[in-house]
């Protein structure tokens, strides 16, 4: 088709077909209303979508934050609930860089915690039991139910909670686990001592398994275990520090009777009142027992009264000057 032919066809076009003007105007209004409604709907959808994205972002951010916090806490709370620090305690994440430890220090498994000559710690474990770390003791937490005793002494008191979980103290000479008790583990170079005040403790020294009970003490060296001994907890060196690390005991408002009952329980002594029980209730005391051994506490308190005491074969005998 050439230009002229196209021109001839175009000349056949008489008039353009148009919709009815009135109907077209009605259609314009209808389509415009539809368009505007659709814009609003899309705007709402965009707003909802934006809000959903924003909410999701906030949630993801919060989750990440929570996980980070939780991750930080994993270094802390799963192993123990809280720690009381007495004196200066150092901890090492890098063996060459010991740092002072505070109750807020977040420890990781493998960190070494070292007490000095005059400092100690009380760990409040997640099961509610209590683990005391003696002066000059070096430990490493493995997890909430296992600790490595590198050197020194630990006192584990599970009597404070009936639901204590099995806890393992590990040394290079063996592992010590308890079945609800109060016991002390002393680990020195080439010697592991375990003394039980109440309950029962089992020791596995890689070759043999030993079970010791109330007032029994076992010593294990690289050459093997020595015979089990009977010990008296109130003045044995293994136990004396555990009393010193007790919470301060206020005597104010207490009677001599109250004090004697308290210390006899702590030192595992049987009281022989010799008829003075009622009189002792009328003797008022003042002051605080803090950082003392059992003997030091008894001496200090009885010195302020007209009463005497004597310890013989696990019995605390009370007497008066007149007598």
């Amino acid at each position: 088709m050439n230009k002229d032919q196209a021109d001839n066809i175009l000349k056949q076009l008489k008039q353009r077909t148009m919709p009815d003007a009135e109907k077209q105007q009605a259609a314009r209004q209808h389509v415009m209303a539809h368009w505007q409604n659709n814009l609003k709907k899309q705007s709402r959808q965009r707003y909802a979508w934006t809000a959903a994205v924003a909410a999701s972002t906030v949630m993801v951010f919060a989750l990440v934050l929570f996980m980070n916090i939780d991750s930080d806490n994993n270094q802390f709370s799963p192993m123990y609930q809280q720690v009381d620090i007495h004196g200066t305690i150092m901890f090492e994440q890098d063996p060459n860089k010991p740092q002072p430890m505070t109750p807020d220090t977040r420890l990781k498994p493998g960190d070494v915690i070292q007490s000095s000559d005059e400092s100690y710690l009380v760990w409040h474990l997640n099961d509610g039991s209590e683990l005391r770390q003696a002066p000059n003791t070096r430990i490493t937490w493995q997890n909430e139910q296992r600790i490595d005793l590198l050197a020194g002494q630990l006192f584990h008191n599970t009597d404070v909670t009936p639901s204590a979980k099995p806890f393992v103290i590990s040394t290079n000479l063996g592992t010590v686990s308890h079945v609800g008790t109060q016991y002390v583990v002393n680990h020195q170079p080439n010697e592991l001592q375990v003394a039980v005040k109440t309950g029962e403790v089992s020791i596995n020294n890689h070759q043999e398994k030993h079970t010791i009970k109330h007032n029994e003490l076992i010593s294990i060296s690289p050459s093997g275990a020595e015979p089990v001994q009977i010990f008296s907890s109130h003045n044995h060196p293994l136990w004396s520090w555990t009393f010193k690390t007790e919470q301060p005991y206020s005597l104010n408002g207490q009677s001599l009777h109250d004090f004697v009952v308290w210390i006899s329980q702590k030192a595992d002594l049987t009281v022989n009142w010799q008829g003075l029980k009622e009189k002792a209730k009328n003797v008022s005391l003042q002051g605080t027992i803090n950082n003392m051994t059992v003997d030091m506490a008894l001496n200090t308190v009885f010195a302020t009264t007209d009463y005497h005491y004597q310890i013989h074969q696990g019995r605390l005998q009370i007497s008066t000057h007149e007598k």
């Binding site: 088709m1 001839n8 919709p19 009815d20 314009r28």
Partner: protein, 211 residues
């Protein structure tokens, strides 16, 4: 200018909610869609109006899906086709539109006769309406509003000066555009005489140019 850039720009403005863009959109496409549909619904004006309206609404609902791979009008014609098909399917009626018209031997004869400047034979008068629709459809599908330009020239019989004034451009630009519009129409009709279907007449890759 890039392909369908003006269409893309119009769509962008519509998505932003610009009323001016809506007016341009409606004024540009409602009548064209009406004519496109009218030729396919056996001249039923009311139905063509309804379907044109539905097509525009549907197009506005789906503007975000327009990728400018075809002209906006071609894209809307596709929507219109689906509405027409759905309508006749619903009515359980056979389609009665003029798509196969170009295949019709008599129409082909009319076109050739007209093209050669011959008088329309009385026996071919019955096809005048179809011929009108065919020319209009080709005009509506021409790019760059060439259809409007040719309408002003051949139907409204406007002078070049009047057309320039109406298009807010120069007389030289209008003369140039008019020449391109004729050429475009000539190419479309040449293709029409060689093809079996109108669907092949409006390639999606037509370059759109603007003064």
């Amino acid at each position: 200018m890039g392909r369908h850039k003006q269409d893309k720009q119009l769509v962008k403005q519509l998505l932003k909610g610009q009323t001016q863009a809506f007016n341009t959109f409606f004024d540009s496409y409602h009548s064209k869609l009406f004519r496109f549909i009218l030729g396919r619904v056996d001249g039923d004006h009311d139905l063509a109006m309804d379907l044109a309206q539905e097509t525009l609404c549907k197009a506005l609902d789906n503007l975000q899906d327009y990728r400018a791979e075809a002209a906006l009008f071609t894209w809307m014609c596709q929507i219109a086709r689906s509405f027409i098909y759905a309508h006749f399917s619903k009515q359980n009626r056979r389609r009665r539109h003029v798509v196969p018209m170009a295949e019709h031997p008599s129409i082909r004869e009319v076109l050739l006769n007209v093209a050669d400047g011959g008088q329309t034979q009385p026996e071919l008068q019955m096809h005048n309406q179809e011929l009108q629709q065919l020319i209009e459809e080709v005009l509506d599908h021409l790019p760059n509003n060439y259809g409007d330009l040719l309408t002003w020239k051949y139907v409204d019989e406007l002078s070049v000066e009047e057309m320039a004034q109406k298009a807010n451009t120069t007389m030289i630009a209008i003369q140039s555009a008019l020449a391109r519009a004729r050429q475009s129409f000539q190419q479309a009709f040449t293709a029409l005489l060689k093809t079996d279907s109108l669907d092949h007449l409006y390639p999606s890759n037509w370059e759109y140019e603007y003064e």
